[in-house]
Amino acid sequence: MAARAGLAVAYGSRLAGHGGSVLGGRVTLALDARALPRLSEGRTIALVSGTNGKTTTTGLLAAALGTGGSVVTNDSGANLPYGLVAALTADLAAGTAVLEVDEGALPPVVAATRPAVVVLLNLSRDQLDRYGEVRMIAARWRGALADAPGAHVVANADDPIVVWAARAAASVTWVGAGQSWREDAATCPACGHQLRWDGAAWACGSCDLARPEPALSVDGDTLVSRRGERIAVELRLPGRCNVANAAMAAAAAQHLGVPTARAVAAMSETTEVAGRYRVVRVGSSLARLLLAKNPAGWVEALDLLRPPPLPVVVAINARVADGRDPSWLWDVPFERLRGRSVVASGERAADLAVRLRYADVEHETCSDPLDAVRGLGAPAVDLAANYTAFQGVVGATARAG
């Protein structure tokens, strides 16, 4: 049995080394359905899941834990079981693995990998045609965490759905990471009654679900511990959302023995994660790449845009990985682009163009995002794209560069 597993793992790892790590993972899983538990055994596993910030938080946590020994991670964003298998086979000697996990895949992955830490960032509407309801995902998380008493959870105290899910775990570190998106947090996930908000504090009017006291909170660019200890975060990644990601990663790192100051120092070396915030040359322009996958992510991305007259290209696809229904475009406050030079782009540029028309945003339409940047002829452009549109741009510019 063990010999067979070892063979499968070695085979998978050879394939992984020869280009196409996901292919290697698929092959390993096909050869050995128990590859994930076998590859996880004897290792310290940290899982990161949530709707937004998974890839960046995984990258930051891997940087922090890398100060204590070798770490494997799936920082390319391949976050389904075969992607995890590929990451775990990439370096069989690494004692620690930091794995981003798709929200829907988290329950079986928790059962298979027996993680030391599970980081739960946030949960909001995303790909509703594929996942069904947000609360249903949280309910499955609860089941998985209740069955994994060895897993310590690091959870965002500011997201009621995450708090409800995390309360099923045996032990939790709460982090006041903030949550600017509240549209999915109107009702109590536990009992269905209305939630009452008072600034950051929230509580159910009917049952005992309420914001837990966080052990670590974000205050501007500073992490504040419950004891009042303050640690400045100087990231090379922009935006409030990344300070929040760093706070979640720091709390997880601390649970695994890396002091917060050391973790934060290591995270400040990270300049991009899987192409996010990368600056690429497109014709005569330097385009900065921003990724946003859902309304909550778009609210953050609009905050990160550099001021006008710098033009903006917005690229939207609606493939399976994006969700086939782009109705969510109407939940994004694109009105904030009024008066700017804007190009609607991507395979669903027509959907975006209608949204922009109703937002009174003058725009051009050009379905290819890189052609859209070239057409502007500006020295600098911000290019914000959703998942597969972003992957397309990163792939095309990597090949060109």
Partner: protein
């Protein structure tokens, strides 16, 4: 401009019934009035607040089980029914459509609806209906083909006192019986997301003509014509080739 000449559009419980971008319907209605020089105001009504009695239009969207049940309980005070009696227009999508019926189903069991539409949603489909939905509207409405995206498990059966919004050409619709949506008087329910009124400006203008009591001047819908062409071709392209529907369906051509 005096206050009474502003068209009020109540967006009911957007935090409960706003999961699929349906809040866009209220924005579309308001903008199409403004583009024609008519002042309009969108009034979001949150749970716990009274439903305003003076609006001309009331818009409801889709939502998850628990928020749907809460919204139905909040709206059960009769304010919306009184608005309908007074001649207000109601446009409800998905969970909002189900709430307007006699009864609807959530995971915990059936819940009473508002009874503004003669329909019930007491059965669930074995498989969730998800995908592009194309509807040939009831000829009496004088509309072009309707396009949208559906995402629901509830099966809505119509009673004798409503007629369907139209006939399903692609997708599932109400209950797999070829019917989609429900209309009675000035109350319209549908499973079309998109949002529906963004993808179907003729439907938006029909609702607005009921409010204004007259036909409305055309506006520039170039962007939306391109979108409609794309979506209808995506949903009907293959069938159109197979069954010759392209001749019968008025697929708008890009200008």
């Amino acid at each position: 401009m005096p206050a009474d000449s502003v068209v009020g559009i109540a967006l009911l419980h957007p935090e409960l019934l706003g999961t699929y971008g349906d809040g866009g319907n209220a924005l579309v209605l308001a903008q199409r009035l403004r583009w024609r020089g008519v002042e309009a105001e969108v009034l979001p009504v949150h749970a716990g607040e009274p439903v305003p009695s003076s609006c001309e239009l009331y818009v409801l969207g889709g939502g998850e089980d628990a928020p749907q049940a809460l919204a139905a309980a909040e709206l059960g005070d009769g304010a919306l029914a009184r608005a309908v009696d007074r001649g207000a227009v109601v446009f409800a999508v998905c969970a909002g459509f189900q709430i307007l019926g006699h009864e609807f189903l959530i995971a915990e069991g059936p819940r009473p609806g508002l009874g503004l539409l003669d329909c019930t949603t007491v059965r669930r489909a074995p498989r969730r209906a998800v995908g592009e939905l194309v509807v040939e509207p009831d000829a009496r409405l004088g509309l072009t083909t309707l396009t949208g995206y559906e995402n629901h498990a509830g099966l809505t059966e119509l009673g004798p006192d409503v007629r369907p919004l139209g006939r399903v050409m692609a997708g599932a619709g109400n209950a797999g019986d070829g019917r989609e949506g429900a209309v009675v008087g000035r109350v319209v329910g549908t499973y079309l997301h998109g949002p529906a009124l963004a993808r179907n400006p003729a439907l938006a203008d029909l609702l607005l003509s009921w409010v204004m009591g007259r036909e409305l001047a055309p506006v520039d819908d170039g962007d939306v014509e391109r979108l409609r062409h794309e979506r209808l071709a995506a949903a009907l392209g293959r069938r159109a080739r197979l069954r010759g529907w392209r001749r019968r369906v008025a697929i708008p051509v890009t200008r």
